[in-house]
Point group: C2
Chain length 91, copies 2
DNA sequence: AATGCTTACGGGTCACGTAATGATT
DNA sequence: AATCATTACGTGACCCGTAAGCATT
């Protein structure tokens, strides 16, 4: 499970649209579609309801989105906090 | 940043020893060493103090360890919660 | 036909294992 | 010499982009 997948999923969830989400994260629709499928496979749950007019979150997807955003923030914060400690030591 | 790296790091941090940590996570010392180095490079901080008798956490490593464990738990919980919602729907 | 997502294929990067090397006791 | 960690090298898996395909409006 790569953190990249979390960011990809958040983008699709917020855009309701693979094409726009792909532009937002800087890749093409095709690899984005695969990445989301892989994520769904890993979690074992369908997170998005695809249609010809875009993609909406399933109830499970809504739950996962909340967690995913929180985890991304946690990771960023972990890095910052760790750097702060190291910086405080070396400075 | 792969979540695997978090698990690897926790193993080394808790074992104070690359060889034992490698056994614990099911890979060899060599790739484990590289993975930890890559993690340190990505965070931009030295997390472990290596020696011939093992490896101990730096102050920054101690901080990162706490966050890493928390994040791993969060990810596991996110999956469980998401599955629970999906399960509740289909059952 | 147009839009949106998915599958097929080829190429580059990444992660692993084995083996050799470096460093400290 | 023994122990612990780090490069060196080759192989298999993974991720991306391009292109073709399928479904719905």
């Amino acid at each position: 499970m790569h953190l990249r997948q979390f960011r990809y999923f958040v983008a699709v969830a917020e855009e309701h649209h693979f094409t726009r989400a792909a532009q937002r994260v800087g890749i093409e629709q095709s690899p984005l579609s695969r990445a989301i499928r892989a994520l769904e496979r890993e979690v074992g749950v369908v997170l998005l309801e695809r249609s010809t007019r875009g993609s909406l979150l399933t109830p499970a997807g809504i739950v996962f989105l909340k967690h995913a955003k929180s985890i991304i923030k946690s990771v960023d914060f972990a890095k910052e906090a760790t750097r702060a400690v190291a910086g405080a030591k070396t400075d």
